[in-house]
C-alpha cells in the first residue's frame, strides 16, 4: 500500500497555530493567484513561496518527497507532451513530418507545468499542518450542517479501520488459496470481488451498530448544540488573512486595472 492514512504532522509552527479557516481560505486564494499569473517568472516566484511555506510547516522529508513525487511526474509529462500538441508560433525548432516543435510552445508548456505545480503543492500546506478534527470543525464553522460534518468525521475515523479490515480479509482469502495478483488487469480486478463482499458486509454491520450508538447518545436531540472546543480567530490570524487577501488583490489590480503583463 502506498500513501498515508493521515498527512498531518505534529509540530508547533506558526502555520500549525493558525486558525484552520484562515488556512482553507489561504489555499483557495493562492490557487486563484496561480490562475491569475501568466508570466513564467512570477509563477516560479509563487512556486518558490509555496515551497518555502511547505518547508516552514516542518513536514518530515519522506512526506514531502511523497507529496512531490506525483507533482514532479505530472510537470514533466506536461513539459514533454505540450509542444507535441501545440504547433503554433515561430521559430520552429525541429520538425518531423506533421510534427513540429516551436519555441513559444515550449515556454507555454513550461508555464503551464509551473502553474500546475503551484496548484498541486499549495494543498500540502493545509494537509500537513491541520488535523482532520480541526478541518471538520472549520468546515462546520463555515456553515456546513452539523450532521454532514459528523458524517465526514465518522468516515475519517473509520477509514484506517476499514483499510486494516480489507488487508486482513485479503490475507484470509490468500490463506484459502486465492491468487489476487494473478492474471491480467481485468481478471485481477475481478479477484477483488471476493475481498470486497466481506468488507462491505462488515462495514454495513458497523453502520448498524454505529447508528444504535448514535441514538443511545441522543444524537440530534437538541438543535442548539454546544461544543467542547471552539475555534476562535486571534489577532495574528487577522494579520495572516489580510496578507493572503493582499497577495491576491494586488496582482489582480495590477492586471485588470493597470493592465500590466504579469
Amino acid at each position: 500500500m502506498t500513501g498515508f492514512i493521515d498527512l498531518y504532522t505534529e509540530a508547533d509552527t506558526f502555520i500549525h497555530r493558525m486558525d484552520p479557516r484562515v488556512k482553507i481560505v489561504a489555499v483557495i486564494l493562492l490557487s486563484l493567484v496561480a490562475f491569475l499569473l501568466t508570466n513564467l517568472a512570477y509563477l516560479s516566484i509563487l512556486l518558490g513561496l509555496i515551497m518555502l511555506l511547505v518547508y516552514l510547516s516542518r513536514a518530515t522529508f519522506s512526506r514531502t518527497m511523497f507529496a512531490l513525487k506525483f507533482v514532479l511526474r505530472l510537470m514533466a509529462l506536461i513539459i514533454v507532451l505540450w509542444p507535441l500538441f501545440d504547433r503554433s508560433g515561430t521559430p520552429v525548432l525541429a520538425s518531423l513530418g506533421p510534427l513540429k516543435i516551436t519555441e513559444p510552445a515550449i515556454w507555454r508548456g513550461l508555464t503551464s507545468a509551473v502553474r500546475v505545480g503551484c496548484l498541486a503543492t499549495v494543498w500540502y500546506i493545509l494537509m500537513f499542518t491541520t488535523s482532520q478534527r480541526d478541518l471538520v470543525r472549520a468546515l462546520v464553522k463555515f456553515g456546513l450542517r452539523f450532521d454532514y460534518g459528523l458524517t465526514l468525521a465518522i468516515s475519517l475515523r473509520f477509514f484506517p479501520t476499514f483499510l486494516s479490515t480489507i488487508e486482513s480479509i485479503t490475507d484470509a482469502q490468500r490463506a484459502r488459496g486465492m491468487e489476487i495478483e494473478k492474471g491480467n488487469l481485468l481478471k485481477r480486478s475481478r479477484n477483488y470481488v471476493t475481498v470486497l463482499v466481506p468488507a462491505i458486509v462488515s462495514a454495513l454491520r458497523t453502520a448498524d451498530t454505529l447508528s444504535l450508538a448514535l441514538q443511545s447518545r441522543a444524537y440530534g436531540a437538541r438543535p442548539d448544540r454546544t461544543y467542547l472546543r471552539e475555534i476562535k480567530m486571534r489577532p495574528s490570524d487577522y494579520v495572516a488573512l489580510s496578507v493572503i487577501i493582499a497577495s491576491l488583490v494586488l496582482p489582480a489590480i495590477a492586471r485588470f486595472v493597470f493592465s500590466a503583463d504579469i
Binding site: W82, T151, V197, L204, Q215
Partner: protein
C-alpha cells in the same frame, strides 16, 4: 412513535437532522470508498498517477442505496482518497466527477438491480459523466494540454469498465450475503 403526543415530541429527534441511520451508513460507505481506492491502488494512469477500483464502490453505493448515497459517498470518499494518496490538487475535480458519476448512475439505475440493461445503461451514463468531467477539468481549468488529458481519459474509461463490472457484481452478491441491505 405516535405523532400527536406533545410531551414525547420534545424528546424526539427534530426533523431537520439527518437520521442517525443515514449518518452512520453514509459515513461508513464514504470511509469504505476511500479505503478500497487506497487498498487497490495500482500506479497506472500518467497524470493522476494511479489506477484503482474505487469506482466499483461508487457504483455499488449508487446501485444499492440510490443517487444521494452514490453522489455523497462516491464524491467525498474518492476525493479524500485523492488527498491521502498525494494528488490533492485533483480532489475538487474528483469530488465533482465521482459525485456526478454516482448521482447519474443512481438516478438511472438506483435500487433496480434486477433489470440488467438499466443497470448497464446507468453505469455507462455515470461513467461518461466522470470521464468528461476529468477531461474538461484537466483541459480547461488545470490546462495540462490535450496530450496529457487524452491519455488520462483512456485510463479513466478503462476504470469505468472495470469498476462498473465489479460494482454491479458487488450489488448482486452483497444483497445475497446480507439480505437486510434491501430494507435500508
Amino acid at each position: 412513535m405516535s405523532s400527536g403526543d406533545k410531551t414525547a415530541s420534545t424528546f424526539r429527534k427534530p426533523v431537520k437532522f439527518v437520521s442517525p441511520k443515514t449518518v452512520a451508513l453514509y459515513g461508513t460507505l464514504t470511509a469504505l470508498t476511500a479505503a478500497i481506492t487506497m487498498a487497490t491502488f495500482v500506479p497506472f494512469a500518467p497524470t493522476k498517477g494511479y489506477f484503482n477500483i474505487g469506482d466499483s464502490m461508487v457504483f455499488f453505493s449508487a446501485l444499492a442505496f440510490g443517487a444521494r448515497a452514490g453522489a455523497i459517498c462516491g464524491g467525498i470518499g474518492s476525493a479524500a482518497a485523492d488527498i491521502l494518496l498525494g494528488s490533492g490538487y485533483f480532489a475538487p475535480y474528483t469530488l465533482v466527477a465521482k459525485g456526478s458519476e454516482g448521482l447519474v448512475s443512481g438516478l438511472i439505475a438506483g435500487k433496480k438491480m434486477d433489470r440488467k440493461w438499466i443497470t448497464a445503461f446507468g453505469i455507462a451514463a455515470g461513467g461518461a459523466c466522470m470521464v468528461a468531467t476529468y477531461f474538461f477539468g484537466e483541459l480547461l481549468i488545470l490546462n495540462v494540454g490535450l496530450g496529457a488529458a487524452l491519455l488520462e481519459s483512456v485510463g479513466n474509461a478503462l476504470q469505468v469498465v472495470v469498476g462498473g463490472t465489479i460494482g454491479a457484481l458487488l450489488a448482486h452478491y452483497v444483497r445475497k450475503a446480507y439480505p437486510r441491505l434491501t430494507e435500508q
